[in-house]
């Protein structure tokens, strides 16, 4: 192999595209969510049957004290509030973590989680661009709901990690200075 060949081989990452079209990932994500949903269908059918039985008993029990219409209105209102609740939950977790700090030498434990948080936020921006360009389609709605669930899950994971580290730090203090994790 001559110097010219070596030069190309050693710098092959320079031949990669500068960026990827966001629709490639969106399509992969959509396929994976559908595939996961199919797998979960059997599981959820069993749960749903049990839940229906319990719900039926609940309604039968509560009609003695509560008007049936009030319950239905309440359930509809809860459903409409789904997205609002997601954003509230995200905001509340963000607020909790806004001043969170950990010993400096534990900061690298959060590197991957914070990187994923950035990916999620970037992905959300891409959803919004897609919605602007193509309207609010059903599949994008599902992906936005999934985005919120994933983000909440991730923020809760970060919060637990911070709590765990600070619990041990209080018990066995280190000399490492405390720094904010910057969420």
């Amino acid at each position: 192999m001559n110097e010219f060949e070596k030069y190309i081989r050693d710098n092959k990452n320079q031949l990669e595209p500068d960026k990827m079209d966001p629709k490639v990932w969106m399509s992969i994500e959509n396929k994976m969510l559908k595939s996961n949903n199919r797998r979960k269908l059997f599981y959820w059918r069993t749960i749903a049957a049990t839940a229906l039985l319990l719900l039926g008993s609940y309604f039968a029990y509560n009609t003695v004290w509560e008007n049936e219409n009030d319950i239905e209105a309440n359930l509809i209102a809860q459903f409409d509030l789904q997205e609002h609740k997601f954003t509230q939950k995200v905001n509340s977790l963000n607020e909790n973590l806004s001043n969170a700090s950990v010993p400096e030498n534990n900061l690298e434990d959060f590197e991957m989680l914070l990187q994923q948080l950035k990916f999620l936020d970037k992905q959300f921006e891409e959803y919004m661009v897609f919605v602007d360009q193509n309207g609010y389609q059903e599949f994008i709605k599902n992906q936005i709901v999934n985005h919120y669930k994933t983000k909440i899950n991730l923020l809760e994971k970060i919060q637990k990690e911070v709590e765990k580290i600070n619990y041990y730090e209080n018990k066995v203090p280190t000399t490492s200075k405390k720094v904010e994790i910057n969420i």
């Binding site: 030069y7 092959k12 990669e16 992969i28 996961n36 991957m112 990187q115 990916f119 999620l120 994933t150």
Partner: protein, 180 residues
Amino acid sequence: MKEVDYISMLVLRVKKNDIVAMQTLYNDFSKAMMATSLRITNNEADSEDILQDAFVTSFQKIAQLKEASKYGGWLKQIVINQSLNQVRKNRSFVNLDQIPELSDEDGNENDIPEGITFQDIKAVIHNLPDGAREVFSLYLLEDLKHREIAEKLNIAVSTSKSQYRYALKLLREKLIPAHE
């Protein structure tokens, strides 16, 4: 280069259907895989479709991956195979019997042409004849042996070697006049 453990950890989470881990792997590997596929198909839309299928296949069959740290190599195999399938019907090789001066001793072949950019190299690779471009990419950039290339493209090992030399010669010829 990221640590091996980092990839293994992501693979473990993909096995648990973690969509963020899938996205992280996609972000880490998509550009390299796109470049690999594009050099074979020479068609952006085809390569985007191949990438979608390859990532979905890798996520759905992740349980078959014995060593999590080898996800990148495994994914690359899927991308290469799907890309080669895509172009199989239209593949053609230039008949090198018609081209007399194809030798190993070809002037200053060790020199790196001055002033070339990777955009130039990309453009010249893009314009190489199909068969030669595939062999060139698989051998130099995807680290396949001529024997493996011959098997994948259903050609003789000697054809793989001569097409590679031909691609390299064209690459140098097209890069040098532009900058000398």
